[in-house]
Point group: C2
Chain length 186, copies 2
């Protein structure tokens, strides 16, 4: 599964507009480099995520995560890498609403809707609802997934160094690093 | 020099309003814990800074810095601590304008105005102007100071672990950790 260049650009534009209405400004270069994570599943509007990486050093990382309405980031964890503990991350909701699910006692009736056809790859159901100003820190090596509410969400992620290529997803079909194919004239 | 509880509360309220008009929401608890850094100089509106610490772990830190019109954070650096390199920090302007000064070739005509009576404690003059969406990363152990423009500024700070008590200020009169005195009935 892959994503077309024209689709990437469409979602990049939508992400810039989304951030803009919340008062978050990007440079031209940042706008061009917005990452559209489609996880190799070919259904980016259901299971997908838009990311702006502000800074990623060997000591810390900061990103803006954008989720459109009911978009879901699939379940994954950040394992130890080269003897360092896995990535630790703080999610701070800036706009909209997001439901975050982590390991722990399952919430009886969760508010997110599991992506159809992928239900078996969601296994942790301890729900944390994040509204603007609310934040939660996910320990290293802990399975988690999240879904935006009906209006979408903007989440600031503060974390240790990001090494996305080591992320372990519950769904074995997922490829974290996107393959973008250039549009052909047809 | 110290700051009165009633003054702290006045600046905390002003900070909440400042963030609010830029669409940045705090919890009640965060609002109560806004740090008013007055540096022991007794002139917080000239040399001072308001800080919201979202998270500070042994791996990373994230804060929102608020500067009122022309307010200045005095020159300092972050030295190595316990064998670790000093704090490294990325300043991202969210709202308003801030001039950041770091080591390096001095800018011929800087836009900031040196706080009167403290001129001798400002020694680095390489100017970086940050407007919304623009950011700059300050290496560890590097002297820097910053001043907001005429409307003030909101700056997101992404960094390695924050250990403010080790900061080294150029001005020997400065005490980083504030002493707050309770108001007495009089």
């Amino acid at each position: 599964m892959m994503i077309k260049r024209s689709e990437v650009e469409k979602y990049q534009k939508k992400t810039v507009e989304f951030l803009s209405q919340a008062g978050i400004v990007l440079t031209e270069e940042e706008s061009r480099n917005i990452e559209i994570a489609e996880f190799g599943l070919g259904e980016v509007e259901t299971q997908g995520l838009q990311l702006v990486t502000y800074i990623n050093t060997d000591r810390y990382c900061a990103k803006e995560l954008v989720l459109f309405a009911r978009q879901t980031c699939p379940e994954h964890l950040h394992p130890p890498v080269n003897g360092e503990p896995g990535k630790m991350e703080t999610f701070r909701c800036r706009w909209g609403k997001v439901w975050l699910y982590v390991e722990g006692e399952a919430t009886e009736k969760i508010q997110a809707v599991l992506p159809r056809g992928s239900e078996e790859y969601y296994t942790v159901f301890h729900e944390i609802e994040l509204n603007p100003g609310k934040q939660y820190t996910i320990p290293p090596n802990t399975r988690h997934w999240f879904q935006a509410g009906d209006e979408g969400a903007i989440v600031s992620e503060f974390s240790s160094t990001s090494r996305d290529e080591y992320d372990i997803f519950t769904d074995p079909r997922i490829e974290r690093i996107p393959k973008i194919i250039e549009d052909t004239n047809s």
